[in-house]
Symmetry: C2
Subunit: 233 residues, 2 copies
């Protein structure tokens, strides 16, 4: 079981819907789990046995074809919820992009708890609706945007999500951050190859829109121009 009182995401995760007594009850059903970069928590197509809240780290949701082509269909940050509650198999794999820490429930235990706590279910519905909106806007990116628009959009999105994840109302986004994924994974999110990702990144660097102090860190030097590229404004 987990100690929910001291949990760093308790105010942002779906748990925030619960009263202290309920929270304690839910906490008894959970256990903390450490996952290291590259490790996969759930395999695509497997029976959906667990759901979880992310406490720390970044994870990917991925779908792959028989021939190995992969598409990352979601990137999961702290306080986000993972898993497919209410039956069925997991329609995508979940694997850690960075070392991570999650708060895991067995799906069946979580399901019955959620059925009895309609505030929790409401929060879950809101989150799922938000995820659906995000997924659908990403469909626009995948279907209709050019490589440079895709890269610019990704950089803005990651900087925003990492900024908010820090919980600070102060920093809505970050001008300097660590990419939680390598070039191949960026390609898998954007529907591009590693070479195209690399070329677009150096193009942005040469235009002085971003700086790349090392392979993982990104500095946004001109957010406005980056935004214009991302949204063809």
């Amino acid at each position: 079981m987990s100690d929910c009182e001291t949990c760093v995401v308790k105010n942002r995760a779906i748990c925030s819907a619960l009263e202290p007594a309920e929270l304690a009850a839910l906490g008894k059903l959970s256990r903390k789990q450490i996952i290291s970069r590259g490790q996969t928590l759930v395999w695509e197509g497997d029976e959906s046995l667990v759901v979880a809240n992310v406490i720390k780290g970044v994870l990917k949701l991925a779908v792959s074809a028989t021939d190995g082509r992969e598409q990352i269909v979601g990137v999961i940050f702290p306080s986000d919820f993972i898993g497919r509650p209410f039956g069925k198999e997991s329609p995508y794999g979940v694997t850690a992009l960075t070392d991570a820490e999650v708060c895991v429930f067995t799906r069946t235990a979580f399901d019955s708890f959620a059925r009895e706590h309609s505030d929790l279910q409401h929060k879950l519905l809101q989150r799922t609706l938000d995820e659906l909106d995000r997924a659908r806007h990403w469909m626009m990116l995948l279907g209709r945007k050019t490589a440079s628009e895709k890269i610019a959009t990704l950089l803005i999105e990651i900087s925003n999500r990492l900024g908010n994840a820090g919980c600070s109302a102060i920093a809505p986004f970050l001008e300097r951050f660590e990419m939680p994924m390598d070039r191949q994974q960026m390609g898998d999110v954007l529907g591009l190859t590693i070479e195209t990702v690399s070329r677009q990144m150096t193009k942005l660097k040469e235009a002085d829109i971003i700086a790349l102090p090392d392979r993982r860190t990104v500095v946004i030097r001109d957010r406005k121009r980056l935004h214009n590229i991302a949204f063809a404004a």
Copy 2:
């Protein structure tokens, strides 16, 4: 208000979660609305004023860029739910692909009803989770599939959805159906141009995998081969 008792989708729409008395109460909040092909029910970015159940017809959810590029992010069939409950603006436009009939609620009225009826909310959650899975698999298509895989997948998907929509447990899918969209709209679903859609369709026709008796109707003559193309098996 609508007469839910005689509604053709009452067993498949989210309303099926409700007891007769509750159903009657919900019915009082709704009104039937006829929409003709091409008419748009909700504009992208507008405040989310209504939600609805689809009774008849097919509608699209679309996101567009400032320069007119459009991506269809969802295709909605009878018994499906439309709209963004619980606040915010509508993140995509909803417009009819065929003449349609919907059962409309003002969003605020629906929201408060749903908050008091946790079975309804549960059903809505299940549906939203299913939609999210569908959207994410479509992301795989948009990001990683070739034009011929895309077309084959679309034909299978539409034939399945139209088959189930007919409510008949008899026909899981249809071997002959009317495409509820034109070539441009097929392109907008798949992230392709109209010309590429057309060429891929004639390629499938020439390989005797499908027949095209007229511009709207499709006959699947070799589902197995079509499936192999769609899923690179």
